[in-house]
């Protein structure tokens, strides 16, 4: 896999969305920087591409290709270019990981290739409420589970409830025992986007990852930003960090610590090596405080 540009900022990998500085690159401009595409061959027809400030996947089967997030129009064009280096088979499916625009713009590029766009059904309300000319509406949606087959290569679209959003799909590739998790888990990083993700579900987040661990025999994961692959332990670690954060904030509330002081009072030494810990722990704790205040 030759890449147009190897200047890829791996430092953007604080979960939720990227917080990188703009790298010097000739790639397309995105709200998060200008990045070239870089593809990694996972094996047995599965590839992951980093482009436009995010990461996606594509699966090549006997009868066609399935793509994850299109990311943005220029990124989608790059991704299509990367696919065409590998196969001329038709693009059959695009699967949106959730509804956030930093992942799902550019679907039109694949629709024009004949792709059918899928998302979890809860995404439809968000996508229709806040239309974006670069976001193609899904053609099909599912509720709990959907298997898509591109010919001796399948992916399971799995919904494990609200986590980073209320419509996040865990894309499971059973042949590879790999799950593609976008934004809910950024391997060994705390919660990003300033630590205060708007539509995340701080408590249900834990239940969702526990369900994934209990029900899906995945061995590795591909994230939605940053490096290409991480071990199963990255998911477990993220769940434990979230639970520790919930417990620590609740403990401060129960202790009577004044609310304004709680974000800075929380300390989780066991997780101090997570990326973004020093910068975002207090903001992460503040988001948990809001949860305990308003029930969201």
């Amino acid at each position: 896999m030759k890449t147009p540009s190897l200047i890829l900022s791996l430092s953007l990998a604080v979960a939720g969305c990227s917080t990188t500085q703009e790298p010097a690159s000739s790639g397309p401009a995105t709200p998060f920087g200008s990045l070239g595409a870089m593809t990694t061959n996972i094996g047995d027809g599965l590839y992951t591409v980093s482009a436009g400030g995010a990461r996606t996947v594509f699966l090549v089967g006997d009868e066609g290709v399935l793509v994850g997030d299109p990311i943005s129009t220029p990124a989608a064009e790059q991704i299509l270019g990367e696919i065409r280096k590998v196969t001329n088979k038709p693009i059959r499916y695009v699967v949106y990981s959730h509804s956030h625009w930093d992942h799902i713009r550019g679907g039109q590029v694949f629709k024009e290739e004949g792709a059918e766009i899928w998302s979890q059904e809860n995404c439809l309300a968000h996508i229709y409420r806040n239309p974006n000319p670069e976001v193609a509406y899904p053609d099909r949606s599912y509720t709990q589970k959907q298997v898509l087959d591109v010919g001796n290569a399948t992916v399971e679209l799995l919904y494990h409830g609200p986590n980073h959003s209320d419509c996040s799909t865990h894309m499971y590739f059973p042949n590879h025992k790999i799950v593609h998790i976008v934004d809910t888990v950024q391997p060994y990083a705390v919660s990003g986007a300033g630590g205060r993700m708007n539509d995340s579900y701080p408590k249900l987040f834990v239940d969702s990852l526990q369900m994934l661990e209990d029900e899906v025999p995945f061995e590795r994961m591909i994230p939605g930003h940053g490096g290409p692959i991480a071990p199963r332990d990255a998911v477990i670690n993220r769940r434990k960090y979230q639970q520790a954060l919930l417990d620590a904030v609740k403990a401060e509330i129960d202790k009577g610590t004044p609310f304004g002081k709680i974000p800075d009072a929380v300390s989780l030494p066991k997780f101090k090596d997570l990326r973004g810990y020093d910068q975002y722990l207090a903001a992460n704790a503040q988001r948990i405080l809001i949860y305990y205040t308003i029930g969201w």
Binding site: C17, T19, E22, P31, F32, G33, S99, H100, W101, D102, H126, I127, R129, N130, N132, V135, P162, S165, A193, G194, R196, M197, N198, D199, S200, Y201, K203, L204, I253, G256, P258, F259, G260, Q286, R287, L289, I290, Y292, T293, I294, G295, W296
Partner: protein
């Protein structure tokens, strides 16, 4: 809940060019129109409506606040509380209703609140007995309370209320008079919020409003100010994006006109409010 409210209110009262010392917790009852009262303090506020056949209240807020409100109602009337209407689903407004449940009140919310209540159970919450899906009304003892739904804005199950024949609106959290919003509020849709305020402003059936926090009563101009503040903030973020600013580089440079800087909470919340709007424009939420 008192510590929670302190947290929220302190952030709204400790900054701003004309910050004043405000008593957050001294509760009082103010009659806004015949039989229509607001009870509470700056920290949290609810509406109650007295009729010859019983009382309708809005948010109980907390177990402690509900007990105080029950006592305040008893000072005005011997009538029982027949209905409790939840303005929206947030715990800082809807908890503590058991005292009203015990005297037989019927609890009502918009139906979109229910999934939130089910997803995030809370022992202090009384589940609604009935829900409404769109504009609706409750008639009791010759008074009619209109429940108006404007779609998603601050949350997605907000009801705005008005007693027919009065010119006072009850608007929880969509506007806290003369204050900016909390920059880190998670579940609101900025575009839909501005749309809702525009629709409310266009209504010629009211002149003043009472809310879920803040002073007992404020003029329509306070809503107009809040809407223009949000529009100015959203435009400033769009302008920053157009200028090539990103993330912290954008949040740190947002500065709104002086009129808005004088709103309560501006200094504390402007940066995070810009961050929230940036997410809206880059992620669609």
């Amino acid at each position: 809940m008192r510590v929670l409210l302190t947290f929220i209110l302190m952030t709204l009262t400790t900054s701003g060019a004309q910050a004043q010392s405000i008593d957050l917790f001294t509760k009082d009852t103010t009659e806004l129109a015949p039989g229509v009262y607001t009870f509470g303090a700056f920290s949290a506020r609810s509406l109650f409506v007295v009729t010859d056949d019983g009382v309708i209240t809005t948010d109980p807020v907390s177990t402690k606040n509900a007990a105080d409100m029950r006592a305040a109602i008893a000072e005005v009337t011997d009538q029982p509380v027949k209905y409790v209407i939840y303005s929206h689903q947030h715990w800082d407004h809807v908890l503590g209703g058991q005292i009203f449940k015990n005297e037989g009140a019927t609890f009502i919310s918009h139906d979109k609140c229910i999934p939130h209540f089910l997803r995030h159970p809370n022992d202090e919450l009384v589940m609604p007995d009935k829900t409404v899906a769109s504009d609706s009304e409750i008639t009791l003892g010759g008074k009619t309370l209109k429940l108006m739904y404007f779609g998603p804005n601050h949350g997605d199950c907000m009801l705005v209320m008005q007693v027919e024949g009065t010119d006072v609106l009850y608007i929880n959290d969509l506007v806290t008079p003369y204050s900016v919003g909390l920059g880190f509020m998670p579940d609101y849709d900025p575009g839909e919020w501005v749309r809702t305020l525009n629709e409310l402003e266009a209504m010629d059936t009211w002149n003043t409003f009472t809310g879920g926090h803040g002073v007992p009563e404020a003029p329509k101009a306070a809503m107009n100010q809040r809407r223009r503040y949000m529009e100015a903030l959203m435009q400033a973020v769009l302008d920053g994006i157009a200028d090539g600013k990103r993330l912290e580089g954008l949040y740190d440079t947002i500065e709104l006109p002086k009129e808005f800087q004088e709103m309560r909470g501006y200094d504390t919340h402007i940066r995070r409010s810009a961050e929230r709007i940036y997410h809206y424009y880059t992620m669609g939420w």
